[in-house]
């Protein structure tokens, strides 16, 4: 499989990322530890999106819904009802799988723009529910979520959590790669372009789409839980529509269908606004300017090998193309 094979560049990038994480674990400042942990968790969610959109071709905007189930599930169960946090994470995971199975069949019957609209509606509904419900403590959110512990050992320690977050990220990347190269991945890639032909190749299209949705929901749910376990706080802002857009930015900056792309994309979207925070009121303007520049210069993302770049190339002046 050519598209999924790690290029030398990707292998080198993975090694550099691993080195940075090890360095941060040993000598990093608190801010470096925090940023790297958040990057790992977002990269996991973006990987789930990469699996859904990149491999299976399903443009779903509802990954924040499963993050929210993971996050609120942990907070509500562990804080409000005193459930063991690990058990709460596992139960939230089951809840996410349950929801994916429940909504998957009708939702995945939609194609193209209709699927996007349906899932955007789900994402909007999730944020509104979190904002309005007393169950989620509305706009206040839930603070003081119990920390994760194993025996006497607490993950309140930032280095331990860094390792935990990157373990989840590595596991999700591994799942992405292994499934992508397996029969399931082949079926996903087939149905992502032609559902009719996939069916004529004996592929049960609705079933394989549902598998993609469930696996992606599991990744997003676990990352959502760990995010809340790390920051010890959950609120509706974490899951509003701007987060959905951020996830898409991360995916496309990193490169659709690239294995390491989600990490690069997450790092870009998380770190660049910090780097340009000196611009104060113009911070967003500078960030989106840079984002636009990245998209113009690398339409397929940092590691993307997406064909059909011509649409973008055609709007660029030729002097800009010569720079690449």
């Amino acid at each position: 499989m050519r598209e999924l094979r790690l290029s030398a560049m990707e292998v080198a990038t993975l090694l550099v990322i691993a080195a940075i994480v090890v360095w941060a674990a040993l000598f990093g400042s608190r801010l470096a530890l925090y940023d790297l942990t958040i990057i790992a968790l977002y990269a996991t969610v973006v990987t789930s999106l990469n699996l859904l959109l990149g491999l299976a071709g399903q443009a779903s905007f509802a990954q924040t819904t499963f993050m929210a189930i993971g996050g609120y599930g942990l907070a509500v169960m562990a804080k409000t009802y005193g459930v063991n946090p690990w058990l709460a994470i596992a139960l939230s995971l089951l809840l996410s799988v349950g929801l994916a199975l429940l909504i998957g069949k009708p939702l995945l019957r939609l194609r193209g723009h209709y699927l996007s609209m349906g899932t955007v509606a789900l994402a909007l509904g999730t944020a509104s529910f979190a904002n309005a419900s007393s169950f989620t403590n509305g706009g206040w959110g839930i603070g003081g979520v119990p920390a994760l512990t194993i025996g006497g050992f607490s993950f309140r320690n930032s280095v331990a959590f860094l390792v935990l977050a990157w373990a989840l990220c590595a596991a999700s990347l591994l799942v992405y790669r292994l499934l992508g190269d397996s029969h399931i991945g082949r079926a996903w890639r087939a149905l992502s372009t032609r559902q009719d032909i996939s069916a004529s190749l004996g592929i049960d299209v609705p079933r394989y789409k549902l598998i993609a949705l469930v696996i992606a929901a599991m990744m997003a749910s676990l990352a959502g839980s760990l995010y809340v376990a790390y920051t010890r706080f959950v609120g509706p802002d974490l899951y509003d529509i701007s987060q959905v857009i951020n996830l898409m930015f991360m995916l496309f900056v990193g490169g659709l269908r690239s294995t390491v792309g989600p990490i690069i994309g997450a790092a870009f979207v998380i770190l660049v606004p910090q780097a340009v925070s000196g611009f104060e009121h113009y911070q967003n303007l500078v960030f989106f300017g840079l984002l636009l520049l990245v998209i113009l210069l690398r339409p397929a993302g940092a590691f993307g090998r997406v064909r059909g770049q011509r649409a973008l190339e055609s709007i660029l002046p030729s002097w800009l193309l010569r720079w690449r």
């Binding site: 050519r2 082949r186 372009t193 032609r194 004529s200 190749l201 049960d204 064909r307």
Partner: protein, 253 residues
């Protein structure tokens, strides 16, 4: 194995595929008026007709890809009218789609593996055995194995599409305009292979716009026009006949 199957169906006297009053409609438009067809083992059926005659609708309805408005389809006596497309493949109906069914992001190897995994376990042999047979028919695919199938030429992609269909180990292979958009040389190569498969006893329904170089043994030709059967005989129509059938008496040479 094919001999054993022939004996079995001979004993029960069932046609391999029985199509009864099959009609297809898209919205209010009749694509195919009630249509009857019996396909015997080892037979070759050529369905001809101009654009919009209902040929593709017929094939897609048989493969489960088009909505069947009325009628029924029996495969070896079993009603498969409402069976979803992906299950029909396992039952023995494989479709080589019009336009060759390119699947970008999949390599030639991926395509072949998908074809092989779509075959029923009882009928298929090991991957290597089946591949050896495919590469015997289409040597070029072996050289292209690791390429993304979007880099193949039209003729190569058509061969890959046929190979995918064959790997499903079908009882009936449906081919939707295999010569469409191919260079004459590529068309000749594709039809060489199809003639060989027919001689080996594979039952096929081939849809084309124009008459194609196929042996006339076991051949039935059906000509469709606006969803209706205009011609059905156990031979190839002559060029004059086809012109008359497509254009009407007045315009015939």
């Amino acid at each position: 194995m094919q001999q054993a199957e022939a004996v079995r169906s001979g004993a029960t006297r069932l046609p391999l595929l029985h199509v009864e009053n099959l009609s297809v409609r898209y919205g209010g438009v009749v694509a195919l008026a009630p249509f009857n067809l019996d396909i015997a083992e080892h037979s070759l059926t050529l369905v001809l007709g101009p654009n919009g005659a209902g040929k593709s609708s017929l094939l897609r309805a048989l493969a489960g890809a088009a909505p069947i408005r009325s009628g029924r389809v029996l495969l070896e006596g079993d009603d498969i009218t409402v069976m979803p497309a992906f299950r029909r493949v396992k039952r023995g109906i494989a479709l080589v789609p019009e336009g060759r069914g390119r699947l970008p992001t999949l390599t030639v190897h991926d395509n072949l593996v998908l074809g092989w995994s779509s075959a029923p376990h009882g009928r298929r042999e090991t991957y290597d055995t089946e591949m050896a047979r495919i590469f015997g028919l289409f040597p070029i695919l072996q050289q292209r194995l690791k390429q993304d199938c979007s880099t193949l030429s039209g003729g190569e992609m058509q061969m890959l599409a046929i190979a995918r269909g064959l790997l499903a180990k079908p009882r009936v292979l449906l081919l939707d305009e295999p010569s469409l958009g191919l260079a004459p040389l590529a068309t000749a190569r594709v039809y060489d292979v199809l003639a060989r498969l027919s001689a080996e006893g594979l039952a096929m329904i081939i849809v084309e716009q124009k008459a194609v170089p196929l042996p006339s043994a076991n051949l039935t030709t059906v000509v469709l026009h606006n969803g209706h059967v205009r011609f059905r005989e156990a031979r190839r129509p002559t060029g004059d006949e086809l012109a008359r059938l497509y254009l009407g008496e007045r315009h015939a040479p």
